[in-house]
Structures are given as structure tokens and as C-alpha cells.
């Protein structure tokens, strides 16, 4: 969207109209420097605009010259901050890809023997295990024995986090957490040394053979809208991401050698 010149600061202009400087550089950027004095302090306001030439139908061009009327009659040309506000970034959320992943992955574990007894490894709940009484007692005794043996054998101080019982708990806990976070972010790879003219669609094409690309983020220059040379590509699972790293790392792309690694 072209940035249209704002002149919401027209009151400032009235005070120091002479001191406004306008520079236009070759890339089509217009720099407007204004000076204003407020509370005996002098402020310098620099606004940079991108100047864009657009071909318009004649009728539209004519309408641009229309005078403001009604409640806007007294508004100066340009935006009136009282009626028009540029808001924060809002993202369009695409649904299909995510939903597809959920749909295909969720029913799988539910279908085949998701239930597993902790005691006898049978196909039923632990609470309903027929050998419950015997096995539970046995397991508890074993665990106790191990613990006492471990602590007794060294005799040295063992921090609580290193003690056998605690250790088992924490690792298990960690594993679970790790699995959860993995679902989202950890299948992304960082691609660097990209050519300036690379686009998101190029990256999609490049990584498509390795698996399902769920997200592509290409870092772009704010004003020029060209690639800054790196991007993040997210895959739906780890194997695909790993394959992409093996496949595309050191790959020659448009006279540049791409570097692909796990994103951190």
C-alpha cells in the first residue's frame, strides 16, 4: 500500500513554515524535515515518505480533487488523526494446514490400543489389572531396594535433583514437556545466505520436496521489501526438517551457497 503524505501536523507548519525542508532522493523517498517550537523547546520532526506514481482512471483522479464537505469541511488536506488511525499489525490466520495436521494425527493414537497397563503391560487400565495387588507390591519393593542401594553405596552427598527417585521423575517430566514444545517450533530450520530477490514462494518451492512446509518466514527490509538474506522454514515433523537440512545445506542457489541449520 502506498504511503500517502500525512499532514496532520499542519498546525506545526503554520508556526514555522519557512523552516520546512524537503529532500527527494533517487529511490523515490521524500524526506520532510519540519521544525517547531513548543514550550520554548525546538523540535525537529523528520518524516520519510515513499513517493509512488499510480495510473488512475480519469474519474478517480478527478474525485481526488473534490473539496471536503459536511463535518470534514474544515479538515486540512491529508489525514485527520481524529477520524483516521493506522492500527497495529493484524495477521491473517490460515487454517487448513493446521487443521489437516490435527485431523490426520489425532485419530491415530486413539484407534489402536492406546490403553496400556503400567504393571503388566496388558491392554487394559492399570487400575483394572488382574495382577494388580501382587505386581504393585513387587514394583514398590524393587524401587525401594534400588533407592536405598544407590544412596548407601556412595555415602557422599547427593543433591535432591540427582537422587534416583527424583531423577526418574524429572526426566519423565522433561520428556513430556519437550514433546509438547516440539510440536510447534522445533521443526524450523534457518536458511541463510539467500539472494536478495528470493521470495517466500521460491522458498516454498525449494523446500517442498522434503515434506510439508507449514510456515515460511522471510526477513525483509522494511522500506525496500526485499529479502535480508535469511529465512525460517517450519516443517510439520522432525524427519522432514532434518532431510531438508541435509538436502539444501551447501546447495548452490542463484550463485550463492545456502546455509541451512536448525533454528535456535
Amino acid at each position: 500500500m502506498p504511503i500517502v503524505e500525512q499532514s496532520g501536523l499542519n498546525w506545526a507548519r503554520e508556526i514555522d513554515e519557512k523552516e520546512t525542508e524537503i529532500e527527494v532522493n533517487e529511490e523515490g523517498y521524500k524526506k520532510v524535515i519540519e521544525y517547531k517550537t513548543e514550550n520554548e523547546k525546538k523540535y525537529k520532526i523528520t518524516n520519510v515518505f515513499r513517493v509512488e506514481k499510480v495510473r488512475l482512471p480519469k474519474s478517480v483522479a478527478q474525485r481526488k480533487e473534490w473539496k471536503k464537505f459536511g463535518d470534514s469541511e474544515s479538515d486540512a488536506p491529508g489525514l485527520n488523526p481524529a477520524t483516521t488511525i493506522i492500527t497495529d499489525e493484524v495477521l491473517m490466520q490460515f487454517l487448513t494446514k493446521k487443521e489437516e495436521v490435527e485431523k490426520t494425527e489425532t485419530p491415530a493414537p486413539a484407534s489402536v490400543s492406546a490403553i496400556k497397563c503400567r504393571l503388566c503391560k496388558g491392554d487394559h487400565w492399570s487400575a483394572k489389572c488382574p495382577h494388580k495387588d501382587i505386581l504393585e507390591a513387587k514394583l514398590a519393593a524393587e524401587a525401594n531396594q534400588k533407592e536405598t542401594a544407590a544412596s548407601a553405596s556412595t555415602g557422599a552427598y547427593v543433591p535432591p535433583s540427582r537422587r534416583p527417585g527424583a531423577n526418574a521423575l524429572t526426566t519423565a517430566g522433561k520428556k513430556v514437556d519437550f514433546g509438547k514444545t516440539l510440536n510447534k517450533d522445533d521443526f524450523s530450520v534457518r536458511v541463510s545466505n539467500l539472494p536478495e530477490e528470493a521470495t517466500e514462494t521460491d522458498l516454498q518451492e525449494l523446500f517442498k520436496p522434503f515434506g510439508k512446509v507449514t510456515r515460511v518466514f522471510l526477513a525483509k527490509d522494511k522500506t525496500k521489501q526485499v529479502s535480508r538474506g535469511f529465512a525460517f522454514v517450519t516443517f510439520s515433523n522432525k524427519d522432514e526438517a532434518q532431510r531438508a537440512i541435509w538436502g539444501v545445506n551447501d546447495y548452490g542457489y542463484n550463485h550463492l551457497i545456502l546455509k541451512v541449520e536448525w533454528s535456535k
Binding site: V4, K68, D71, S72, L79, T87, V90, M92, Q93
Partner: protein, 327 residues
Amino acid sequence: MKPILLQGHERSITQIKYNREGDLLFSSAKDKKPNVWFSINGERLGTYNGHNGAVWCIDIDWETINFMSGSADNTCKIWDARTGQVKTNYETKNPVRSCGFSYSGNLAMYTTDSTLKENCYIIVRDLRLSEQDSPVHLIDVTGMKFPKITSSIWGSLEDTVITGHETGEIMLWDFRKTSSEPNYKIRPHTKQVMDLQKDKDSTCFISASKDFNSKLFDLENIKELKCFKTEKPVNSAAISPIRDHVLLGGGQEAVDAALYSKSGKFEARFFHLIFEQEFAKVRDHFGPINYVAFHPDGKSYSSAGEDGFVRVHYLDQSYFDFDIKYN
């Protein structure tokens, strides 16, 4: 994308419409002044001051010369779009609920609400005649025991009008016929039809209803083609002029909050026109969305909400890159 927030109204928005080229965006609200904005940067061009009640409907003609608004103050006004002066003032006996210019811009159609005393009418006026002349067409809808009209559009050319009704009926009226019975009458929705919008080439139109559905119809014979299902009341639906996409906006009113278990805001939802599948959403309005409109070039859209704001969205590149996989 960074939406442009247009803050010109004091109450909830009722309708927004782009003109043919899309450089101007018109908006009306339950306050008394319709607004017009430059869609490119959100600059307000002016307000049309003169109504004395909520403005329910607006329309702009093909050449952006005349602007029409129908209001709860029992008038339908034709304005000079450029200066904001009233050209013609049609008095009615009831609030004007929906209105529209014909393709040529010479005929103005508007419908009135039904009340205990007065009937719901479809009225068509010729702008080339004077204010006092009788309407070109006048159909007494209540007299035929039909529920009141809540939305309407012109059908093909200048011969037909399509109306959406309070209890979910959609009817097509042909003015060439001598009898005033509707040509086609269907009941695709179970609740009020909130909005009807045509596609770019006037071959089909889309309806939005409080029964959570939005449906696509053939413009000639109002045959149902597609159905887009949501879980919230749909207040407005628009068809993209460049892609096979449909945009829905809606949400439950604060009054109905206790009736449904799910609460929260309604996003602007994008559906695929052919697969009837939702593929994207944009959530930014606070409260339900009352009206959505696509820019005629298909690269931006605007939504207007119960919160009284109009938001102009210039779609990101990711939207244009996106495509549903066919296999």
C-alpha cells in the same frame, strides 16, 4: 497488514459500500450522518448531514454522482455525492430498511419496514421524474402476507429485484409481469436474512443469515448453489472479485449473549467459494461485524462493526500466495 481504522461514527455501523472504481468508501451507521472516505488512505472526504434518525442502508450509483441513503426517520434521500447536498427527498410512512440503485443509476429501489399501522413496500422511483410523481413500481409485500423485507438488491439488469425477509425467505420479483406475485420464492434460511450481495459480474449473489449460514444463489432463478456454515450468526457476506473466495462477517449481538454457550468475537472469515471450506480468518474487531465489503480490485476489503469502527484491510502477499491444494 495494518488496517486503517475509520472513526467517523458514534454508533454501530449498518452498511459500507465501495463505489465502482473503489476509490471511495461510503459508510452509514445508527447515528444520523453517512460518511464517505478515500479508501486508499482512510481520509474522510465528507459527511452527508440531513437525516434525523438511524441510517439503515446506503448505495452509490455507477458513476459516483448520486448517493442514496434510507433512514429510520421515514425518508429516503438522494444526495449529490460530491457536495453532500440533498437532491431528492422521498417521504415514506415507515423506516427505510434497504435500498439500491439500478445498473443505469436512473432507478432507485427502496423497501420500508412493516409496522402495526403500515405495510412493508417495495418502491421503485425514477430519478428523472420529480419527487411528487408516483413511484414506477409499488409492491405491497405485507398485503400479500409476506414477512417484512430486511435486505434487497437489484437482480439482472433493471427488471428484477431480490429481497431477503425476516423469517429467512428470499424472493425474486419481476417488474415485467403484470401480476405482482414474486417469480420465485424460497426459504433457504430459518432466520432473518441480514445481507445480500452480488458478485462482480452479477451472475450470482450471496446471502447472510442469523441462522449461522451463508448461501450462494444463481441471480436469475435464485437456485441455491453453495452453503457456508459457521457457528455464529452471519451478518454480512461478500464475494471476492478476483478469486474464488467468500468473506463472511458476523457474531452474536450482546442481547443474545446468554442464548449461546460459545462467546467471543467473530472474525472476518474467508471461505473457498467452491469447496465451501474455511481457510483463513482475521480477528480484529471488538464485537460483531455488521458489514463486510470487498474492494472492486479484490486486493483489500473493509469490515464494519457494532463497535462503530470501519477497518480497511490491505491484504498481505501471503493471502495472494495461498491456494488450497486440490489433490
